[in-house]
Subunit: 392 residues, 2 copies
């Protein structure tokens, strides 16, 4: 049978992910991986989750295992509304929608909003998972310039002035892949600009809770509530395998997100939602979060100091106050893909930064380094190896 | 802000589901609902699931809570391959893909296969959730005639002869909404036809395990392996809230299903998958299934005998050997929507059958009755009330 002729026109345009291929290499024995983008398994509250499983089945009985509303498990929506309130966002439980990871919101937004050829404004570089969610709906990406303080508001305004941007997609805090955060001044400027142009902005915020230094920044949602879809997740503060994300969207958008989600998975795992509800409502996040932060803070410090000590001065790197990534930019002409090939010979893996750009050919001199998965000593050693490789 | 102008062209074509509205009415206190389509909470092995939660966290540790491969949790794929083998389907673990409910496969198939305007052949009536999954990809539906033995092979062949059918979608066993099963002879004929025309068929099989009488029928997948995507689920034999479904697809199709699933939810809840793996591998399905069957068999018998005893002879109804539904066809001119309005005054709810047809205006004289959610005495009483309402 010829299956190829059965594919849709959108499928014909999709390719295998280069990062998936890299992650297969990384799984080889003996490889030290700075390539991943996942939380340390040491950060999961295993005993607590085991206990909460018993609790939620006692507390909710069959309701924890039955079909549920597409919008989400009611006790979770209630406690999330409160939680979002503590982060400065006004939320009614009815406006909080639960999703199968934050990826589920990205897919649903793509389906609801993107007609073929629509323009989506994204940071350069941007989160690859968002591009994978949006790609099947066949948008065009419009790259907006960024620097160490995140997206440049004037550059964003120039794009919005065209009147052709369907929405703006940002990870404003401890971004994946750069680790960068939008500065407080720029948050206010960005909020003012999207209000001025009546633009919609998607604020993807998986990392802001993982703050190791400095002060919490206001979310864009809190500064421009009508213009922002805020996306959060339990993946970095509880357990990613449960696949629980959520969003706070303007009601008119949330209505359609719910309808399309119903067609995609009916609803998110009720058991996972009940566990997340108990985790928040029982005050366990507050109790457990310090141990996650204490796990990652020295790992980040080790990576920053190794970069400082071993990398040449013409390599520039981000100095985030949280998250899971550091971004390295080599001098012009530095070829990160070649460096990757050499590095894996030395059993150290990372992701060449070019894969995070919507524009082909951009970011060839950049690297994404993850510090969540290895202890400080291993990180120090891996970065030292990497320094030899990149400067040979 | 004007959110309406932001919607994609596909969203503009979607409507709120009439059945969602019905299910809201049904939730009113005192209503006896024959409208639902969900398993009885009494069928869930609550104590076992509580126990298995503890087991899987002990057995798999952090791996039960970490990000996992899009294709599925390896121990689950292995035991599913064996399980499919016992149902007569040759399956390697690498060909078994786990999904977020069977709905997840339907959405992914739509995304991979359907270009705008593509023709999909469906039974009349058909499963509404499939239409909801496919609709956003903007297909045209081609309705194929059915009778009490399921789809009519000659009618299917006439449609395939056009060479314009992208795929055929069927629920061949204890179909939702009709409860009908494709007869053994027609299974062989259908398999021969799809092979002859090199057509792809999607076999959605959530109910075949819920058999109360008679002999197991071979799956279409077992009769035409290269031409069929087989979809199964744990929703009716374990717990639907876990959202674990699976499919066995030709490798070339499975490749693309995996890529699009990665963009939709990365992967299905690892904890849910680990629970499903333990349920199958530990032999708990065999132990628990008889109690589900013993719960539903008398409910179905009560509904069939009440229909026999109280409904007039010009009402025709299906007599399935399993599943969760019975289909009632009134005489020409019988208006099931009007009957629904009268029935809810009498505190009995059902779903008018017209909602399960892809063609507007079809099936106005039909009703779907569910028997999984009420005990035999309640069913007997509700059907008696319904008989008064429909014949007034």
């Amino acid at each position: 049978m010829n299956y190829q002729t059965l594919l849709s026109d959108r499928t014909a345009q999709m390719g295998a992910s280069a990062i998936r291929e890299i992650l297969k290499v990384v799984a080889q024995p003996g490889m030290v991986s700075l390539a991943g983008g996942i939380p340390s398994p040491q950060s999961f509250p295993l005993d607590l989750i085991q206990k909460l499983c018993v609790t939620v089945i006692e507390k909710y009985g069959a309701a924890a295992l039955q079909y549920g509303p597409t919008e989400g498990f009611s006790p979770l929506r209630q406690v999330l509304a409160k939680h979002l309130g503590t982060l400065g966002m006004k939320a009614e439980p009815k406006d909080v929608l639960v999703s199968s990871g934050s990826q589920g919101v990205l897919d649903a937004l793509g389906k609801v909003l993107i007609s073929k050829g629509d323009q989506i404004a994204v940071e350069t570089p941007t989160y690859l998972g968002a591009l994978q969610a949006f790609d099947p709906y066949q948008p065009c990406y419009v790259s907006v310039e960024t620097d160490d303080d995140g997206i440049i508001p004037e550059a964003l305004e120039r794009k919005l002035k065209t009147g052709r941007i369907k929405f703006v997609y940002l990870v404003p805090t401890f971004q994946n892949p750069t680790g960068r955060s939008l500065s407080i001044e720029r948050r206010h400027e960005t909020a003012a600009i999207i209000k001025k142009y009546e633009a919609l902005l998607v604020e993807d915020d998986p990392y802001s809770t993982l703050r190791y230094h400095g002060q919490q920044l206001p979310t864009l949602k809190s500064l421009a509530p009508d213009n922002v879809v805020y996306i959060g997740t339990f993946s970095k503060i509880f357990a990613p395998g449960l696949r629980v994300g959520f969003c706070l969207a303007p009601t008119a958008i949330g209505h359609w997100l719910t309808i399309v989600k119903q067609g995609v998975d009916l609803h998110t795992s009720t058991l996972s939602q009940a566990l997340a509800a108990e985790y928040l409502a029982g005050g366990y996040l507050e109790k457990h979060l310090p141990s996650i932060i204490n796990l990652y803070r020295p790992r980040q410090a080790a990576m920053l100091s190794a970069l400082e000590n071993h990398f040449a001065n013409d390599f520039h790197f981000s100095r985030p106050q949280g998250g899971m990534f550091i971004w390295v930019e080599g001098p012009p002409g530095f070829d990160a893909k070649k460096a990757y090939q050499k590095a894996i010979q030395q059993k150290v893996a990372f992701v060449p930064g070019c894969y995070f750009y919507a524009d082909p050919g951009a970011g060839l001199n950049t690297m994404r380094l993850n510090f969540s998965m290895n202890d400080p000593a291993t990180i120090e050693k891996a970065v030292t190896t990497l320094a030899d490789v990149v400067m040979f």
